[in-house]
Symmetry: C2
Subunit: 465 residues, 2 copies
């Protein structure tokens, strides 16, 4: 029973540990087994046939499981991390485990922003302030402010902006938009939601265990040898190219020249770029913060972004997607019109309270407060970069991103993960969890309270000096 | 140009009128036309070739438009209503138009609930109160409270509940779960999102204009002659049956006996029921409020619900879906495990502030306050029912739902819509907008301030007495 319960919890994909994983399924199964294997205890009932297994007695519908869901691999990254962390804490109950694994913000949301959300909540209790359904595309004023703040002089208008409940949700809505017949290209390593949502949508073949890749996806290898920018000439076909800069997990940021190459590639091949700029405000140098800084990008690119890592909105849920009206399908139909239909049918707008928070984020005080929070995390990043650099590691990322990418040549990412957890009680993320191109790297997140970052740095120094 | 702009705005599907519909596309097109047709005005440029059309000059990607998106019909119901309302207001600028069309709540959210949300917003600004990513499945305490409040003694547990940003969003996630290979059955008339999300997912054939139905959907006719309960024996195949009770739009509520038949049908045929109970708290009699009141339903049914119409959360965004662990695909795989994977990959949890509001809704004070709001809308419903009844119409619904379904035998729903708008300045919803089974009916929503409901009743009496 223990091993079957474990198997079940491995298949369940969740970042959190409190879901219906092993516990509740096990409970149900054992209840069922008891019901059938101990008939003598049921008053007035005597079954003289041999007891069937729980599997045999359970009612099954005739609806076939979606074959695309069955393609998904069991060991989804973040729940596996959570499972290993829990196991470690059981083994060392007195250890103070520090998590620099999942990229979750830790610092309070600035007051100007929380006050605006609280005020909006209160106003919903008044006749004057109450409002019901908002536009699925988001509040007009927020859309206009996003356009003005992040896309001024780039030709992106209010009507090109779709406010959402976060980039992860919009990635999935974009997959619905494109449907099952497109072929995707993705940076390797990359944020797992791009690939998993593509699998769910039916765009891929089966997972090929030997190469750790799904069939019918173009994996664009991004490693130090190519400056984390893919060799575009090696791509055979790519309808939709997912590209994240500053990158999660490597922390690398594409230069203007590199993004110009990417846009030119899309133009030459008729591809659509989905550009994930969720970490753009972490950029310190003159790397482009938006794909639309590249001339011609409006005709080939969608951009997704988020307030999560700027304002600590990971739990508040607010993001946006830009679909320029200039972006057209092969038949000339505007992509924005189909995306609008997706948003109208499959979504009902972000929470009005979160949107009030978004407006406050974009006020002068809000922008300053967000930048202060970002600067705090960037100081953390510097501590992490300096720690690994001083130990002689090859360290990448960190400069324009809250992620540090550290190379352990010739070693397995999971082995390094285990070593740092076992000996330092620090959780990081094994690079191979982001795709085969991440093997022999680890990702260290800079989201954390300062004292935790300093303590983690101390332990890592002790471990590797 | 005017007619092409109109066409564009008809294709765009949005409830709201402030999107990129006719206006921005028209502007873009005319800008493009000007650029190419008036070259003489561009300083230093002289083009001596004949001017190509905007269509010809625009860059197109080579990505094919998703064929499923192209199947969607142009005249999505609610934007069409908004368009006609706008046209009417331009024609009669002094008229006080009353909208009983779209089912949007109008009364303020009770104080206990808004205060809880404001307090949560403020706490996010503190070190003690801040939290980042929540569980994708929702806050554990909220899941437990939903199970306790709405499913006590029905065998539904905390782990069966998935908290969401609303029922409409979960309908779309359920489509992703089931994939493109299932055949759906749906009440006719029904809430448009069921059918449209099925079309987007690729489950249907083309729209058949003569019968106003998509191919490969089972439309289950619900009319007064069958007490708004479908003839289940006429269904040839149905993998997933969408069933809404109390019903939107007819306001009818299935009896215990009818739901027992439905569950038995699903058992006999191996179908999965998606039961939409978003109006359950409007039930006054002993009709079941949950499908799980029917024995055996846990093995064949999913239930979706929402705080929208109870607490005025249409803009706050909070709902839930119940996927019992007993519900299995044909191969024995639990549906809940795949839905958990969908939620984990395509969603990041409802806003933590909205979830704090949900917890307050389920406190004793919150439940009482929600019931007061519901009672207010039900008083509105009675005014509407009495108005049409006194005029001699056949009136359905209203008793257990905020919707009144009025029959105009032999007349087109859109003609009646136009008549009531033109002569009474009142917006209702034409029944045929919910499917061919709604023809010759209108839906009147009871969501409105009391004075507007009374004024609308007065005008309708003047019109039809």
């Amino acid at each position: 029973m223990a091993s079957s319960a474990l198997q079940i919890s491995m298949v369940v994909s969740s970042r959190s540990s409190d879901f219906l994983g092993s516990h509740s399924f096990t409970a149900t199964n054992s209840l069922r087994s008891r019901n059938v294997s101990l008939p003598g205890r049921m008053p007035g009932v005597c079954r003289c046939v041999s007891a069937p297994s729980a599997e045999e007695t359970a009612f099954k519908t005739k609806v076939a499981r979606n074959a695309n869901m069955a393609k998904l691999q069991a060991g989804y990254l973040f729940p596996e991390l959570a499972r290993r962390r829990s196991a470690h804490m059981s083994k060392y109950p007195d250890a103070k485990v520090i998590s620099l694994g999942i990229g979750d913000t830790t610092e309070p949301i600035p007051d100007d922003i929380t006050s605006a959300m609280a005020m909006r909540a209160h106003s919903l209790g008044t006749f004057e302030g109450y409002s019901g359904y908002g536009a699925e595309q988001g509040d007009k004023k927020l859309r206009a402010n996003i356009a003005l703040t992040y896309y001024k002089d780039l030709g992106i208008e209010e009507t090109d902006i779709f406010v959402s409940d976060g980039a992860k949700c919009d990635i999935s809505r974009l997959q619905l938009l494109f449907g099952s017949q497109v072929k995707m290209a993705v940076q390797d390593p990359s944020y797992p939601a791009y690939v998993d949502s593509s699998v769910i949508m039916g765009q891929t073949g089966l997972f090929q265990k030997d190469i750790e890749k799904y069939a019918n996806i173009e994996y664009m290898r991004c490693v130090p040898e190519n400056d984390f920018f893919p060799d575009l000439s090696s791509i055979s076909q790519a309808d939709v190219i997912y590209f994240c800069s500053p990158n999660n997990p490597t922390g690398s940021t594409a230069t203007r020249d590199q993004l110009t190459q990417l846009v030119q590639f899309a133009k030459d091949n008729g591809s659509i770029i989905v550009f994930d700029s969720a970490y753009a405000m972490y950029i310190s140098d003159d790397s482009p913060r938006s794909i639309y800084e590249i001339p011609g990008a409006k005709e080939v690119a969608i951009e997704i972004s988020s307030f999560s890592k700027y304002a600590g909105f990971t739990g508040v849920r607010l993001g946006w997607t830009v679909v320029p009206k200039e972006l057209l399908f092969a038949d000339g139909f505007p992509v924005a019109k189909d995306f609008n239909r997706i948003v109208s049918t499959c979504f009902n707008g972000a929470s009005n309270i979160a949107q009030a928070g978004g407006l406050a984020c974009l006020s002068p005080a809000g922008l300053k407060a967000m930048q202060n929070t970002i600067n705090f995390y960037k100081e953390n990043t510097k501590i992490i970069v300096d720690t690994f650099t001083s130990l002689g590691f090859n360290v990448y990322g960190g400069k324009n991103a809250p992620y540090v990418w550290v190379q352990f040549p010739g070693r397995s990412s999971w082995d390094v993960f285990t070593e740092i957890l076992e000996k330092g009680h620090v959780v990081i993320t094994p690079g191979s969890g982001f795709g085969p191109g991440g093997e022999s790297f680890i990702r260290v997140s800079a989201f954390g309270h300062r004292e935790n970052i300093l303590e983690a740095a101390k332990r890592i120094k002790q471990l590797y000096q």
